[in-house]
Symmetry: C2
Subunit: 158 residues, 2 copies
């Protein structure tokens, strides 16, 4: 296409001018996506998933959570916790009020900036006695070899 247009232009009386820059062609080109130094999303995803499958989520927190990690709860909650201290406090609060009967994990799927895991959790909330089956896609963002953000996406009810 670019060659065709250039050919049309050159049929007109020539002006001494450099060819007009094809900015559009340049802006159509993709750019590489980087996540900084340290472990890649693929490396972290593999180890992260293996640790959770081995029941070592405390190890995940120690090893992979960045100090400034942000944790975002999805549909119906839509809140963000900022900083490892706040995020771990949220986890410990949730754990204190829930009994997990079983958990399934699928993944990882690996992107350019992070990775995704699929969780299924059969859980009873102790304070209410309510048992629910949660289905989530967790998406983790990687920077400089650590997870700097996680967002939980919830399956629609029904």
């Amino acid at each position: 296409m670019a060659a065709k247009k250039a050919a049309k232009r050159s049929a007109k009386p020539a002006k001494k001018k450099s060819a007009p820059k094809r900015k559009s062609a340049a802006s159509m080109a993709p750019r590489p996506v980087k996540t900084g130094k340290g472990a890649t999303p693929l490396e972290i995803a593999r180890d992260f998933a293996a640790l959770i499958r081995a029941g070592k989520s405390d190890e995940v927190e120690k090893k992979w959570f960045a100090p400034g990690i942000e944790s975002v709860e999805g549909l119906g909650a839509s809140m963000a916790w900022k900083g490892k201290k706040a995020v771990l406090a949220k986890y410990r609060g949730w754990e204190a009020d829930h009994e997990i009967h079983s958990m399934s994990l699928e993944g990882p799927w690996v992107g350019a900036t992070g990775f995704a895991l699929r969780f299924g959790v059969d859980v009873t909330q102790l304070s209410t006695g309510q048992r629910t089956q949660m289905h989530e896609i967790a998406v983790y963002t990687v920077h400089n070899g650590k997870v700097v953000r996680e967002e939980f996406h919830f399956a629609l009810p029904g």
Copy 2:
């Protein structure tokens, strides 16, 4: 830590001052996550998935893609296309070189800033004749009632 430092300071000759504020408690609290005006992630997710299930992905592009949409290909590609024109050109290029035999779609899962879909695609690349089964989690970010970003996360081979 802030409290400790304040205690040290208060050991010095007392000045009439109010008690130091417990900033740490405030910083532990979550903040609400918003996506601006217009359709919510839930509304877009439902319609987006319904349109794809109906084979109307062209309608998805028209209706939900923001002019400045960024499209990020995951593991092994790790590139970002910026702007609707570049993103649609990428799609049209891919479609011209691929024959889709079948497609499955699961989801949506809905987060605070967007939503996720799971794709399975059985496809042959026409230029190479190679047939592959792709398994992806696509994550869409919503702002002001449009999709401003998509990232494709790929299942690991094997």
